[in-house]
């Protein structure tokens, strides 16, 4: 009996310690969503009927890495929205865990920085979970093929968190340029140091 209890305990600990592996891999079909934007309106990817794809960035208010990439995120939308490849930012963080992640603060930052793209509030964190966002900023490039949105790139914006000028590999730009040129995406997955998503405690 003791042994059974012990092995049950061991199993519980084992599962508690292992990360939940879900979310998208490259090639998967991404789900659309209905999330509240900083202007109070609800946004879906389906609203963009002429889009060829999307740069979905899980981003937030407080993370120093997000702050370092802020102007690069703004520039990505300026460059690609006119080419029907708009950027959508989503904040997956729970303000219950980190106060600075509140919706009001999102509104303030979007105004101050002049965001001309949606900055959406994933209050239930279901979209971050479905996509498999782990950190901020974390990018998912989606390509529209027929009615479906295919995940073609997952990872970092570029290879230099410190400054845009020092970046030698601009992963997201390269991926979107390749899609727009009708080519396959050559670098589909990258990693970067970022702030872990602030998940609500279960």
């Amino acid at each position: 009996m003791k042994k059974i209890i012990l092995s049950l305990l061991a199993l519980t600990v084992l599962f508690a310690g292992s990360p939940i592996k879900n979310g998208y891999d490259v090639g998967d079909v991404a789900t659309d969503f209905k999330l509240k934007n900083v202007d109070g309106k609800t946004i879906s990817l389906a609203d963009y009927s002429s889009a060829k794809g999307f740069i979905v960035v899980f981003d937030c208010n407080t993370c120093p890495v997000s702050k370092a990439y802020n102007s690069r995120i703004i520039a990505l939308n300026k460059k690609y929205a006119p080419q029907d490849f708009p950027l959508i930012a989503i904040n997956p963080n729970s303000p219950e865990v980190s106060k600075g992640e509140s919706f009001d603060e999102m509104v303030r930052i979007a105004k101050k920085k002049g965001y001309d793209f949606p900055y959406l509030y994933d209050e239930s964190q279901q979209i971050a979970k479905a996509y498999g966002a782990t950190n901020t900023p974390h990018v998912f490039v989606l390509k529209k093929t027929g009615d479906e949105l295919k995940v073609v790139y997952i990872g970092a914006i570029d290879d230099n968190s410190r400054d845009a000028v020092g970046a030698s590999k601009k992963y997201v730009e390269q991926a979107v340029d390749e899609i727009l040129a009708g080519k396959p995406v050559s670098v589909t997955k990258t990693k970067a140091i970022g702030c872990g998503v602030k998940w609500k405690s279960a």
Partner: protein
Amino acid sequence: MNKIVIVIALVAGGFSVGAQVPLIRLAELQKLMDTPSDEVKVVNFWATWCAPCIKELPLFEKINQDRKDAKVTLVSMDIDLDPNPEKVYKFVSRKKLQSQVVILNERNPNDWIDKIEKEWSGALPATLLINTKNGKRKFVEKELHEGDLEKLIDEIKN
């Protein structure tokens, strides 16, 4: 005169922290992780800018103090955002950290995150536990709470 003594003490203190907190390359970190040891290696990845990392640091300090069967190493990722390690030195001396602290001096994390741990997305905080005697490893990519580290160490100890 007193002032001069204080200044000298401060400068010496600053130097000693710098000397105790080396900047290391990936190969040195890998060696630190792989070198056979009787202790369970508890390697925490953190940065001075990471609030949940700072919150959980006392848990690592406690393990470092209490557990003779575990060896804590705090690996700072600060260089990724800021080339100047001064912030880390100041933090270590202000918090009087007793655990071993190193600063990973590498750029372009995409080249080395997988070499440290394939499961790691790059998110901070993250913690890797290694038992070189039986080859068991545990990786956790989240903020830890009271008692978590003890459980994780015991899990891979035998």
